[in-house]
Symmetry: C3
Subunit: 530 residues, 3 copies
């Protein structure tokens, strides 16, 4: 029978699969390629049908502000066309001196950019261990009392990106004079969010208003918060008193506090009048370039052998600051080995100690730099691996007056751009060649640049700078002009005929601009050449 002389299509495919896979494992570059294809991919829900058909984009500003005892939380309406197409929600949180943002978790991954200020924050990795331990001598000096222990606490400063995974509780505190300003992007369409696309804050304490649920109320009238129902407001306040008494083994008085009933402080940011006391390693100013270098080499791999201080953080600004190691510190107690306690779980040095923060602000050395045009710094999952999990990246740009970011497009991401300083002229063009945005963008405004839409920026200020959140952990950008442009990558004859130019004109189109993404203003170019 002839048909038995050849393998079936299936066994063929299967056997090819097996052989090739074996080959792959021996062939490193390919393996890496696949791995990269694997973890570089960002999985996000697509927008609803036709949701990205813009006639016009607009510069967006926050349309709601919730005042707190020690700060403010402003929000952009997540039902706006642009933000729905991009599948994200945005907020800006301002924390005054000694302000503590109460712990909360969110139903989607978040990327936070610190526009201004310094402080400390914590992200709780559920299932990991408390690795920060308060020394035996307690603050009252009343003999050996149970010391406190808790998860890692980290410093942040201007220019930091902080990555917060879905469902991981987060808190932050301003321990200096300058108000902290933090811009938060919530990627609600990330598939880590298995609920619908409404951004939800789950506060662990307090009774404050939710910053995003109001938009649901206004819309359908089908929102979650009905009149009279919303007393309390944190994720524990809906449980019966008896449940909480038993679950925490505490008295009725403490239960009332858990449910936020003894609390008349306003909002999600409260003032810690005497300053927050949290153990954390001492901080000193880094040597110039030191932090950068550490970020590159992966600072989480090295230990810091100094003893931790126990200090009030609002005095920290008087000390020399030190960029402290992200390595988990363990206070060794005499006669007791950590490793004997419960056994190491093997993930202590990986998941539980993942680096959560990376600086891409003005003070870092840029990835691209032209002293007459500006500077660019990009953060991807290559530099901050946790972004691979979140499917997000970021770009910080500074463009000098009259310099230009050439027409270019995001190959595999949406970009949500927030102006940090100054102003610039933006043009965004759709696939039909229409300019869907052609105007000025000023400090504090937001513009979405949808995937594949072409955009160019001309700075109107010497101090223009922006942060751009990208919805892919390894975003790719393609220039349409300049040294790395797609047009330069085309054969000369293809350019000539496609653009209806003679070969000399085509050569000019390909080669005249010797710059890459940032082009200096025409007059400074003349000077540079002269």
């Amino acid at each position: 029978m002839l048909s038995t002389s050849y393998p079936t299509k299936h066994s063929l495919i299967l056997s090819l699969m097996a052989n090739k896979l074996l080959a792959l494992s021996l062939f490193l570059p390919f393996l890496l390629l696949f791995l990269s294809g694997c973890f570089a991919s960002t999985f996000r829900q697509q927008p609803q049908q036709n949701e990205c058909q813009f006639q016009r984009l607009n510069a967006l500003e926050p349309d709601n502000s919730i005042k707190s005892e020690a700060g403010t939380i402003e929000t952009w309406n997540p039902n706006n066309d642009q933000l729905r197409c991009a599948g994200v929600a945005l907020s800006r949180c301002t924390i005054q001196r000694k302000g503590l943002r109460r712990p909360f978790y969110t139903n989607a991954p978040q990327e936070i950019y610190i526009q201004q200020g310094r402080g400390i924050f914590g992200i709780i990795f559920p299932g990991c261990r408390e690795t920060y331990e308060e020394p035996q001598e307690s603050e009252q000096g009343q003999g050996p009392r149970p010391q406190d222990s808790h998860h890692k606490v980290e410093h942040f400063r201007e220019g930091d990106i902080i990555a917060v995974p879905t469902g991981f509780p987060f808190w932050m505190y301003n321990n200096e004079e300058t108000p902290v300003v933090a811009i938060t992007l919530i990627d609600t369409t990330n598939l880590d969010n298995q609920l619908d696309q409404i951004p939800r804050r789950f506060y662990l304490s307090g009774n404050q208003e939710q910053e995003f649920l109001q938009y649901q109320q206004k819309e359908g009238g089908q929102g979650q918060q009905q009149e009279g129902r919303n007393e309390g407001g944190n994720v524990l306040s809906g449980f019966n008193d008896e449940f909480l008494e038993e679950a925490f083994s505490v008295d009725r008085e403490i239960v009332r506090s858990i449910k936020g009933k003894n609390d008349d402080r306003e909002g999600g940011i409260i003032e810690v009048k005497e300053g927050l006391k949290v153990i954390s390693p001492p901080t000193m100013r880094p040597r110039p370039g030191q932090e950068e270098e550490e970020q590159r080499r992966g600072e989480e791999k090295r230990g810091d052998r100094r003893r931790p201080h126990h200090h009030h953080h609002h005095h920290a600004e008087e000390e020399k600051e030190e960029e402290w190691s992200h390595e988990v510190r363990r206070v060794r107690r005499p006669g007791r080995h950590d490793d004997d306690r419960e056994g190491r779980n093997g993930l202590e040095e990986t998941l539980c100690t993942m680096r959560l923060r990376h600086n891409i602000g003005q003070s870092t050395s840029p990835d691209a730099y032209n002293p007459q045009a500006g500077r660019l710094k990009t953060l991807t999952s290559i530099d901050l691996p946790i972004l691979g999990w979140l499917g997000l990246a970021a770009e910080h740009g500074s463009i000098y007056k009259n310099a230009m970011f050439v027409p270019s497009y995001n190959v595999n991401a949406n970009s949500i751009l927030y102006v940090l300083n100054g102003s610039a002229w933006f043009q965004v063009v759709d696939c039909s060649g229409n300019a869907v945005f052609n105007g000025e963008l000023n400090e504090g405004q937001v513009l979405t640049i949808p995937q594949n839409y072409a955009a160019a920026i001309k700075s109107l200020d010497d101090n223009f700078s922006y942060i751009s959140f990208k919805t892919n952990d390894i975003p790719q950008i393609a220039a349409l002009a300049g040294l790395t442009s797609s047009i330069r990558a085309l054969p000369l004859d293809v350019v000539a005929h496609a653009f209806n130019l003679d070969r000399d004109q085509a050569r000019q189109l390909k080669n005249n601009n010797p710059y890459k993404f940032l082009v200096p203003p025409p007059q400074s170019q003349l000077r540079a050449v002269a």
Copy 2:
């Protein structure tokens, strides 16, 4: 030209990518981290807009029942709010003695929990080989007739989870006296399903009613089954007789049977009066603890050298049961080597022999246990790798009377909980602090606990137990109270100020409950301490 002195942003990113990837490959923990990030991720469609905005959850019971010759298939309405938000469909199948559930495949992955009974099942891996072969001596003893060969047949018993991939045909048979009760979760929003979210059963034989399509009919009136059209009902009955005659090379009489036209047996579960004759290895009762151990070590790696029996399965209960190896058995025929036949395809020991089943029931040793509170057993893709493909996991819990599962939430999954025995009081709280469920859940009822919603359970019966299906293959749960809670992970001063407590109260809140997830009833705690 200055601009040529620095690499482009792109080549920078690319070269960083290459270098880091190379570094990664040498740095195992990170590589593994990424791998885990890769296959641990579960990719499911998000619910439609606002679909998870519940005012109230309800305890759900099946609302439809289809009677069969030898059993019943009950279904929960997949259009229910909770199930739509979770993106799943649920059914309960009861199979009487000698009942055979006809082979069918489904357009989404399935996780089946065996609530009661024992039997055998088969899952067809398209493209794999028939590895079970009937010995030469045929049942009539009429000389050398063509023996039968088929895919692997497996035993199941109470407490088993069975994983069925999208589009893989599945059948099961009850070979004992006790009725088999199986709870099936279909993950319709899993991206392996490229059709819409309607659960579809594709039966290979018979003419029975589809258990889920009725809900479509009732709804839009746009359903697939129109009057007069639905004769037949299996996936072959829509083909022309001529096609089937040729495709199977059989006569018109057999074609009528293929199309289900000679069949007046009711429904998808039929009675095999004389008992089903299928070759399978002999079974004996496992030594205590043996099965567990094997599950841990990965039983699929070891062979079983005993000869297979050819027996009637409905007599199996008289034999000693043995937990048989999942290794594929090959009956070697003299003078003929399997490996010479068509060549090994290299996947025989991997895809084709993937382990499909794992016991997490009452009889297994739990992952967490407190003799005064209860026991928990979790099954993830770490233990049963095929779950990584399906993006599903499961948890079995038993909680003793008045003991409590502390308030906690699913970090990265929805949880669909089915009560196996007894009853318990559930509270589920949303992000606004409202209790969306506060009531009793009884045997046979279902409750969805959406991602990030806080839930607590207080058992009302000593024999309360449940199975919880989770829509992530490595689900994470975060406790809000007890030894591993997120509140304990916060610094003392953060707890004190966030909850408006003094430091001593905050210390109580963090430390008073010394238990992890399960808390014994207050009175037994006293006894344990005394």
Copy 3:
């Protein structure tokens, strides 16, 4: 305290995870299995609710045609039920002799099948380098002028599949007499597309009509193209003249050309009257079987040491054709080493030189072949790794008159089938057993076969052939009849009882058809046996 004597559920899971992952890394087959699970998975948006509930499928033909100077672009309406359920868009492009399809990129991955003709194409990988360099002696011989350099240029021929990633510019050119006919599938629901599901062409030049946007206009009236707005039409034409002048450093005249204003040539395919001059390696006819062999061994790994020619491509048909290497050629200039220039970025040999094309046409050796029934050739990401990124595969089939493709179904993909030649009778059956298609499909017609729907084909012509695009990079097909069928994989007794047959009939049903997917016509079977 008892509760501290067992690890928490979490640390247990985490530690299991760590241990197992370490074990995995030492256990190659499993690692590979996971890798395969990882990159074999195809992530696509699910269709809107109920969108795949067909009463009836129809043979589809293009319903719109846009004429160009040197060709035609025809489109299928992407709002058709079938194509919406499959989540794809389809077009057919005919390019006359000397026709150049202008460069454009698309917001989703594409798979192109060359039905007819030969030519050259380019795909721009943003961020990669120009590796093709024109020699110093310029065409006018006017001394050392700046030579041209550009990205790789590739040949294509009948039977090729070309893979184009999301957002990567693509152009093609017909350098022979025969018109080129190319069928393009755009996978709009692929999650690489972060916009909505409308297929968008972003042309780099010209002012032509967009082939798909018209459908949006017709529908909601909410389309992007409003009257009077759509002058220009390429992605650069929406920018201000000043921006373009500066970005390209060119004069106002060239800017007019960039914006498509000096261009009265019709449509996206233009005629290059004098023929396109592009450097590319010389081509010769391959030795019989050579190309196949190279495809298998991964031709991208070997170099081609011959000097490149500089020739007019429309004369290429006079030369001996050679299947040229995909290895990047670098023209070495004296005293200058490529590697000294900017340093190798390490990805030159991987991402930037990824193979983009693979022949599966009539001329290749098939994966399955029966001289009385036909031939099948499948292309997956195993053979063409870039398909793993795109999540697409393809199958080419030729079935001789009266031979049959047995009833079978796609396990994990939708299939979009286009008839290349001749005609055949198709039957497609849904889960209720209804034939949703039962009719002839002729040359140039398209039929979607949804995931898990059963389909059979009977050829009506000796030259019937088709190309089937599959929405999974490792698609699995399951036969319902024949040697590899799921019914054959069932135990004999299960078949007998499920189909209500006696054991002898069941044995016939399992074993009578000795063929795999393709069954010869009954009369030729008789001859073969005789």
